[in-house]
Symmetry: C2
Subunit: 249 residues, 2 copies
């Protein structure tokens, strides 16, 4: 039995479950936990589409009454967030044995494969008001790769946005749109906490015109980002044209 890695809680009791079997209910069904619920939700979305993922039908598939799910996820939004986390967790992390371009390519294509395995995921990711931790992990990994190639902070930042729409769709903001705490000390603490896990994101935010300690969450200059990516594409298209590009096949 695989250790339910993501679900381990501080209060995990030294669970005396006899003979290694999970405790069973009167009906003989294995006990639910958050991981089982999320996995079932992802499977249901994969096979029946995201619209089929209702608390009621998900519960039915697990042989349980709808309200039972609320013991494991706070509400449906948290369920969706958990599903996103599961999918994003499938993306390969950066490697260290490749140059930045190859590594980046691998990460983006890995992300694409993950999203193709779960076609409902892009829409769900975009519909979430704030990015989940693993989404930030991935973003940070991509930024780290760019920085490792010697790109400046602003260029890495722009490149991130340019690539973003390839990976995440129409994502415009990676930082939570919720306003940061008013109290400067509290805000600094928040930034520090983020920097511990996502150093490149914080660096990028700080270097792109928004002072991380004062305006995190203010968003960056979208228009400049957009035009950078647009001109990148236009220039590239023109270049391909000049070079007499023809389809590979």
């Amino acid at each position: 039995m695989p250790t339910t890695g993501t679900g381990s809680r501080p209060g995990d009791p030294p669970g005396r479950t006899p003979a290694g079997t999970a405790a069973a209910t009167p009906a003989g069904r294995a006990r639910l936990n958050r991981d089982i619920v999320l996995r079932a939700a992802v499977d249901l979305a994969d096979t029946a589409g995201i619209d089929a993922v209702s608390m009621r039908s998900l519960a039915a598939g697990l042989g349980v009454v709808p309200m039972a799910l609320y013991k494991h996820v706070a509400n449906k939004d948290e369920l969706l967030d958990g599903m996103v986390e599961a999918v994003v967790g499938e993306i390969e992390p950066a490697r260290r044995d490749e140059d930045w371009k190859a590594s980046l390519r691998r990460q983006v294509l890995s992300a694409r494969r993950a999203l193709l395995r779960h076609p409902w995921a892009p829409a769900v990711i975009e519909s979430r008001p704030a990015p989940t931790p693993r989404v930030l992990d991935h973003l940070d990994s991509v930024l780290a790769t760019l920085r490792s190639g010697g790109l400046s902070v602003p260029l890495a930042h722009h490149a991130m946005h340019a690539l973003g729409s390839r990976v995440w769709g129409f994502t415009q903001e990676v930082f939570p749109s919720a306003p940061p705490p008013e109290d400067p000390a509290q805000r600094a603490q928040l930034v520090a906490a983020m920097a511990a896990r996502w150093p490149n994101i914080v660096e990028s935010a700080a270097g792109a015109g928004h002072d991380a300690t004062s305006t995190v969450g203010a968003g960056c200059d979208d228009q400049a980002e957009f035009e950078f990516a647009l001109d990148l594409l236009l220039d590239g298209i023109e270049r391909r044209h000049r070079e007499g590009w023809t389809p590979a096949s």
Copy 2:
């Protein structure tokens, strides 16, 4: 009668409303029509968010019972399609007095402005199973611009996809995912009908490996499209890096 006679007052005598204005109901409310409904839906989405657009609240805002809306739109999906049409209709069409790159840039930025005015629109556009006519209009216009610059059909097609994610988000398929008719004659007629309005789209589909008369709707080689755009971006980023790019500001 496109004149929306919104001026009727409750005190208006029933019977002959003056000078061709729309008839008023007993309550003095102007009669609904499809345009009024769609416009109200867009306004509601703009001001209260797309989640606030329910048939019930939309009807309430119009001073009407929910079921009254169904006399003007078949169902909620059609309402959403109509809202998309309204937004996409705001995009500036191509000009003829600019070179292809400038024209393209203008069109894309115009599309972006339209979508920024209606932030709910990208998600709705992507959620629709098939593109609406005006979406196809816009796509065709972009393709025409690329072709007018002398780009080959396949290159224009690839460029379209590369740019697509900038404008439409994660759009992967522009052709309806619904299977085309079985009967070859019927299919040929469908293609001909499409070619009349969207010649560049049909040309592009035909030139990109899928024979328009036999496999319209089969989709194109997504992976190749994706990698083309990805490498465009990667090469462009590398080039900016080599050139010592710094932010404009």
